[in-house]
């Protein structure tokens, strides 16, 4: 596990994502709040298309938030690698999200040469209680 500082800033990651993955809607659906040492935080804005009846955010939207936050944490740590791909994601749904935005905190557990593993917590803004928790693995292409 590396202990080196992140090599990309929040702004650099944002520019990279907007250019390489325009369909994610970075800065619109998905707000990049912060990147740090082996960590990242994103927010999913409560747009209509992510909602289920009752105003709660859908499972696939929660999956997307978990997946992109993990990708961002890896990206910030190793630099722009468009071709890193998710190989596994295991998600536990713990509670029904209240209407509104959803925040996702990611911590990388391992950053190896070939695989990166991290965990994420999804929660309502300003609340600690986890609404979902996921662990995921990305395969990192040879550099």
């Amino acid at each position: 596990m590396t202990s080196a500082a992140a090599v990309m800033t929040r702004d650099e990651v944002e520019v990279f994502l907007a250019r390489e993955f325009p369909q994610i809607g970075i800065g619109e659906n998905f707000i990049l709040e912060a990147v740090g040492l082996m960590s990242a935080r994103m927010r999913l804005a409560a747009h209509d298309r992510n909602l289920r009846p009752g105003g709660t955010i859908s499972g696939p939207a929660m999956f997307a938030l978990a997946d992109v936050t993990l990708y961002v944490a890896i990206l910030a740590q190793i630099g722009p690698v468009a071709l890193a791909v998710t190989t596994n994601l295991n998600i536990n749904f713990l509670g029904r999200p209240p209407p509104g935005d959803l925040v996702c905190d990611c911590k990388l557990l391992k950053l190896g040469k070939r695989l990166a593993v991290g965990e994420v917590w999804l929660h309502a803004p300003g609340r600690d209680e986890p609404l979902a928790h996921a662990t995921g693995t990305y395969s990192i292409p040879p550099r």
Copy 2:
């Protein structure tokens, strides 16, 4: 594990989903191809909003397909229970989907009073090679 026949037909499940979960876009994005004994098959139509550059279907869209096919297999077996919820889903991404539709086959592994567990394979139409595989658990409300 039950060995009883499914209690809802394909058409009954489709009507139920269209009424209870209009946002899924049943019959449009997600085509219900068949339901059977402890099983179901759905197809994800290759709409623009599900696509990544290169025309392949996105990870969250694949997650959504896995999740809804599992739900349909449970529904067909136990009858209309809108409140069953996913508690866990573990997905392995195995290959890059080719441009075009994606088919999902679900087999239920266990159908208990409180929990249902199933597995799904995602593959291109007419091809056996799995592009993703998932196992998931639904919590079934007391009846």
Copy 3:
């Protein structure tokens, strides 16, 4: 998610495990170090039968440590329920354990009426670096 204090002490849990699950070898293979609010810590003693060549602890022994620590955290929180059973456990192996004991820290993510979900980290004594990480679900019998 409950915020109530644990209802069993470390010593009470130890007595319960020794009586109900003698084959675990509590206090011998598996040392219960602490229980707390929605948490527990155990240590796996490096006995020969848990070792692989090179003196590292085997995967199944790491699985057993993860599973029992999760069980202990639930037990301490809800009281003696011998019949709670693991329904799902997802484990990521992150690094090769050094020879010697292994410590496991558990934090419960959700404690519902029917399901409890928690995560665990396995690490060498006195070191933070995770060697394995798992999330698991227990089904809790009606009380």
Copy 4:
């Protein structure tokens, strides 16, 4: 995904395991029944140390059976690679095993250059009903 025939026979795998991993107890605890194209079958003999009260096989013993059967299926397909390691294993426990042996069937879902993914079913001899199901990933060292 390869479609090439397995490169090791059942007997060759057995000799390799006995030499490289004597602590597994191949041919004693774990019986290698068959290897095939992207597949393997093993049997866990019901020895006392694997049992829980009531004579059923313990969770860690089921994990060990799942893990080793996956390893054997990979080994048979790619040849003797002692250093392949489990990176992830997700197991769902579906039913209480009856007293007696347990059989595990493995099918590889993907065999790439760096990662192999497979699924396994655990069931009683001669019965189809799955008692546990797991998917796992092995990292394959550069050759």
